[in-house]
């Protein structure tokens, strides 16, 4: 086993946040799902003869999006401070002059960051089972949503590690990581909706009107920012297997490419971090 992974996991589980964060995470997730359940099964909803399967679908979707949002908030905590902490406590030099390669150092940091986030993902399974109990969703939805969430978290963790390698202080690396998460989650959506509005306005003025026939009837240059958006990526994963291409596949390629670029830049930074 890579000694970095063993060291990182040991250190992480000793931290107070090692148990505090999973507890908080489950509390928030439980509260969100409970709220969604009561809204779905409230008097007004019951009047509309809500089916059990509908409750299951609503709970599952609420859980999937809430989970992704929470994990996107947590991933930078684990990754962005991961290399800067070595710089702050002046242990990076010791690692770099050992026989560990920069690849092994990166892999140790990445796996431990990702494993902790995956641990949170796994702890939410009991909450997810509530949605299963109502029906309406199958293993495929759970599988595709989980794979999508893991790809997003892997890319965000790689991005956080890049920030950690580029900055000297954890606070700066974490702030920039959050800025990046906000950029891909919120800014891309804002750009998309603004451009969509402009596109619609232009068409209405020209008297052509706008008649959308699905996602792909929107011009590519308007759609483009959404391929970087993790929530759109998750939404595209709910499609049946035959319809995963091109939306889900494009998002997957974009996120994996973002992760790979982050890895390359992080390794380069680590190789040149002797003066840190």
């Amino acid at each position: 086993m890579n000694p970095m992974i063993r060291k990182e996991l040991r250190q992480r589980m000793r931290e107070r946040r090692g148990w505090l964060l999973p507890s908080l995470y489950l509390l928030v997730l439980g509260a969100v799902v409970t709220f969604a359940y009561f809204v779905t099964t409230s008097d007004g909803a019951r009047a509309n003869n809500v089916q059990g399967s509908t409750v299951g679908v609503v709970l599952f979707l609420t859980l999937a999006y809430a989970q992704l949002a929470l994990l996107l908030l947590m991933a930078p905590i684990f990754s962005a401070g991961s290399i800067t902490i070595e710089k702050e406590q002046r242990t990076l030099g010791g690692l770099l002059t050992s026989l560990l390669t920069v690849g092994q150092i990166w892999w140790g940091k990445f796996v431990s960051s990702l494993l902790f986030v995956l641990l949170l993902l796994i702890t939410s399974l009991p909450v997810l089972s509530m949605a299963f109990a109502f029906g309406g969703i199958g293993p495929w939805e759970v599988f595709s949503a989980t794979v999508t969430t893991v790809i997003v978290l892997g890319s965000v963790s790689a991005l956080g590690l890049y920030c950690s390698s580029a900055f000297r202080r954890s606070i700066h690396a974490t702030a920039v990581s959050y800025a990046m998460v906000i950029a891909i989650s919120v800014v891309t959506a804002i750009i998309f909706f603004v451009r969509l509005q402009l596109y619609e306005t232009a068409h209405v003025r020209s008297g052509n009107g706008v008649a959308y026939a699905g996602w792909y009837s929107i011009p590519l240059d308007v759609r483009l920012p959404m391929y970087l958006n993790p929530f759109f990526f998750l939404t595209s994963s709910f499609a049946p297997p035959s319809e995963l291409y091109p939306a889900w596949a494009t998002c997957a390629v974009v996120f994996i490419a973002m992760g790979i670029i982050s890895v390359v830049l992080t390794l380069r930074n680590l190789r040149h971090s002797g003066d840190a």
Binding site: K7, E86, Q89, R90, G93, G94, T97, L99, H272, G274
Partner: protein
Amino acid sequence: MIAVEQLRKSFDGTRALDDFTLHVGAGELFGLVGPNGAGKTTLMKVLSTLLEPDRGTAQIGGRDVRTQGREVKRMIGYMPDQPGVYQDMSVREFLEFFADAFHITGARHRAAVDRAMERSGLTDRTRDSVEQLSFGMKQRLVLAKTLLHDPKVLLLDEPATGLDPIARIELRQQLKLLQAEGITILISSHILSDLEDICTQIAFIGGGRNASDADGHSVIQLRAPRAPVRVYEIELIGESASAESIVNAAGARLLESGAGRMVVEISGADEQVAALLRALVTGGVNVMRFDHRALGLEERYQRAFGEKRT
């Protein structure tokens, strides 16, 4: 064992190392002395593969630090000027992690960790958290970690900084023992008396370049057990040409000569010194003064850097 030739390293246009050259033989305990910002830490980082030089070569045991970094890492133990520790680990866990990081496996792993604990004097504190150790103890722990993989060369950047006098004495003793084990040690320090006590040679560095003392020496031989080298200052009456030939015939090295004064370097035991004096007197040279010139390291340092500071 350490060969540095015309090494250059710049940061944002400022040359931290400017054609610096250094040679350290196997088994030496070699001191590197210079004021703050002289380039000592940069040199240590280049030698430990943490920094790539812009120009020049640096080799350890014949391996180039730039192109054979992995082989160099196997040979060196590097202790930075501010050594870091993992505060939340126990002493044993800390050493075990670095034993793993140096790919020490099986029975050697346990033996290396146990030996490191003994070396650091922390055998009875194996389960203690690193955080609980004093600064001096942490320094010893980091030195022990540096020795885990039995390096042939130790690169110690200001290891005595922040240590109390007792800890400094213990460090000096430990370094002497390590040298006796055959380890080549390159140490930089501001505490000149420490270096004078333990080093076999000292090199001056200033502004990233080889600096020299008032006598033009950039490297000073402090002690060499097999053939001690001493410098004598001789004052004589009359012309010194005959004295020079006697000095050369006696196997001494003439360093300076002129105006009734000579500075010679004599290699060997006291008998060689006595033989030179006898040869001069019997050769008809009127010797007025025959003095051992024993400049202290502090005096040499002052001569090398003192004037530039004022």
